[in-house]
Symmetry: C2
């Protein structure tokens, strides 16, 4: 997505540890009009797949997923992080690594909002090692729902998450794949 490349190059902050911060339009401040166009990209990629539910994970994934759900005219359900106060068997549960918290966190999704009749598109903002998406796939698998595919805004192509998903035969669409980040030169290389 050309506009996304331009925005990453113009507004992204390259930080040590192969980090590109896109806090100005996606993860902290949100450019809501741009998010509509991001949503439309995913809709165009998956529109003929019979999707009736969008699954995401808090927080930034939800920002993108909202726009996608609107175009598919379906419900969005997002996995919540952290242990619920009232533990019962009404949730699917999994675990993901939180890179911002440097720790494993539990995620959960209420069983009543995801069933075997659902055809699911998973949406998230970033894909690096794939921990968040794999947690969501675990939950979708528990539910018996059909996974149609995954859409992420920015994939870090030099980390293994995307490759592993594609090797499993999962349809993964990334609007931008970053293959190289050079913090000294302050450059980013996108996959063509």
């Amino acid at each position: 997505m050309k506009e996304l490349y331009d925005k990453i190059l113009k507004e992204g902050k390259i930080c040590p540890g192969d980090i590109v911060k896109v806090d100005s339009f996606l993860n902290h401040q949100v450019d809501v009009n741009f998010m509509e166009r991001v949503g439309a990209e995913f809709y165009n990629l998956f529109k003929d797949s019979g999707i009736n539910k969008i699954v995401s994970i808090e927080t930034s994934g939800v920002i993108v997923a909202m726009e996608v759900a609107k175009l598919f005219d379906c419900r969005l359900v997002f996995a919540k992080k952290g242990k619920p106060l009232n533990q019962d068997n009404s949730f699917y549960e999994s675990k993901v690594m939180s890179y911002t918290r440097h720790a494993e966190v539990e995620i959960r999704l209420a069983k009543e909002y995801l069933t075997k009749d659902d055809k699911v598109l998973v949406i998230d903002d970033f894909l690096a090692n794939g921990s968040a998406i794999n947690g969501l796939l675990d939950i979708i698998n528990q539910s018996g729902a059909t996974l149609i595919g995954c859409g992420v805004v920015i994939e870090k192509g030099f980390q293994p998450g995307g490759k592993a998903l594609r090797e499993k035969g999962i349809r993964l669409e990334s609007l931008a794949i970053i293959d190289e980040i050079d913090v000294n030169k302050q450059t980013i290389k996108f996959r063509k």
Copy 2:
């Protein structure tokens, strides 16, 4: 908002501890089309106030705030919860009580995304004791931005947050105010 009353009565789950769960359309599963209409209500209430920034807090507040920001054609910035990994002086910080975590959590908002030139509408999903909104107001105060008002989807009128804000002269608009929850009778009374 009549449609909101109806949705709370039809889909809300009344739980012990004066809790109304609206997980089916707002806090976990999201009815994205309904959220557009919620956003439009806030826009109509505040449209002549010169608002140029929407401030909210993760996670569910952001869902509502997205729609509001779109109608105001302005940026949304949301406070993040939890301690940042790299503590520096580039953030406004405050503290809020998290009722889901039963603990005080730090919140932060990057200084570059909120300045004294901003005219701010605060948006959140729930208002009970007002801890989250007061944390946001603290941050807005630190920034020097002008607070135009606050909009919340559901106010628990029997808890003190809303009253305290109004007594301070803050314009607070709640789309539904619940004055009574009876878990035994499974009834909800709205303020007229």
